[in-house]
Symmetry: C2
Subunit: 210 residues, 2 copies
DNA sequence: ACCTGAACACCGTTCAAGT
DNA sequence: ACCTGAACACCGTTCAAGT
């Protein structure tokens, strides 16, 4: 990143920065290197500016994070829902949330961490709710169904990122001797999480819409 | 917290600290105040000791976090599975993971953040896998079923903690005008997440075990 | 073996000051 | 209106030194 923003280190007094520039640069850092990499000093350096300048444009780091999430949300607003039956369209809307989150895992993880998942997914969640109601669910039933589906999607997201026994060196010193190697191996990562997602979401939706 | 560990500020040269003491104190901080509250300086202060002493007992913060998670895991090893049919027992084992995580949400959130969820839940996950196999699933099918169930559980966990539109002030400046208040209200928090969990996990399990 | 003191590089944030 | 420089309180971590 930062290939797009080649500014003079600090010669000019007026950098000509806008709030959008700052938010976009922050978004680029998070997309490329994760939420922890987003420090005010690094962001300032990427923009060829002093740390304090960042504070002038966006209030503080928390606001910056929220702004960056909202920015990505508005970019991914237009995902199309496909399918003929109500259940198919509901599945499609759910899959849109899943695939958009996978395509932007760093931002999604950051949003989850600061409790702004809904902010990121709002347009997609609204679309899903609309499909549920179009499928014939009454308002309160649709709302509960939305919740259930969102939680399943969220679970597969954390599952897709979850390191598994044996795959990381995280387990080096902490292995429990009472549990056999065979059992641990059986718990290894499934070959295709996407397949599991499809099957599970289909089951859940089938239990939810007529 | 720290009510149990009243040590002299720093008079004695030998504090008589063990690694277990340090890990327990760290666990107490996380349970009471969350993962962000666990700083080496605060932990040292709670133990009446210098920051550097912590490093002598546990390698660094990452190792300390892992140790604290493992410590809680061994404490909650013995949850009993109930039910007559295979499906009931699978549901019960899944519910054990859910309720244990809810009872220790701060540690669960920390474990999720560092990618050590399996470390925390290992005994409970193994128990769930055993029930799936006892219900008649072949080894690889049971493993996939385990994955699916774990992801649903994980989803409800992040869902249970997830702030909802309208409930926090997080959405103050970022509301999207294209989305009506009625829609947002319809997406509000369900009255009983536990009920949704029960219904969803039953549906998923029913689709998984015969 | 166990613990302290001082120091380093890194954070987010604020405040007065410059143009 | 926009930006800099210096400073503050806070991190995790290391290293030499004490008993």
């Amino acid at each position: 990143m930062s290939g797009t923003s080649l500014r003079e280190p600090s010669t000019t007094r007026h950098a000509g920065l806008s709030r959008v520039d700052v938010v976009d640069a922050a978004l680029a850092i998070v997309e490329a290197h994760g939420g922890d990499a987003l420090t005010m000093r690094r962001l300032a350096a990427d923009l060829g500016v002093t740390t304090t300048t960042i504070y002038w444009h966006v209030g503080n780091r928390d606001e910056l994070v929220l702004a960056l999430i909202a920015r990505l949300a508005e970019r991914q607003a237009g995902s199309v829902v496909v399918g003929d039956t109500g259940a198919e369209r509901v599945e499609s809307a759910a899959r849109n949330i899943w695939s958009n989150a996978l395509a932007h895992r760093n931002v999604t993880a950051l949003a989850s961490r600061v409790g702004a998942t809904t902010l990121l997914e709002l347009p997609l969640e609204v679309a899903l709710l609309a499909e549920l109601e179009a499928a014939g669910l009454r308002e309160d039933v649709a709302r509960d169904a939305l919740r259930s589906i969102l939680m399943v999607v969220a679970g597969f997201l954390v599952g897709a990122w979850r390191p598994v026994v044996g795959e990381s060196d995280l387990w080096a010193g902490v292995r429990d001797e009472r549990i056999s190697d065979a059992t641990l191996a059986a718990m290894g990562r499934a070959p295709d999480v996407g397949l599991l997602f499809d099957r599970t979401i289909r089951t859940v939706v089938a239990g939810l819409v007529p």
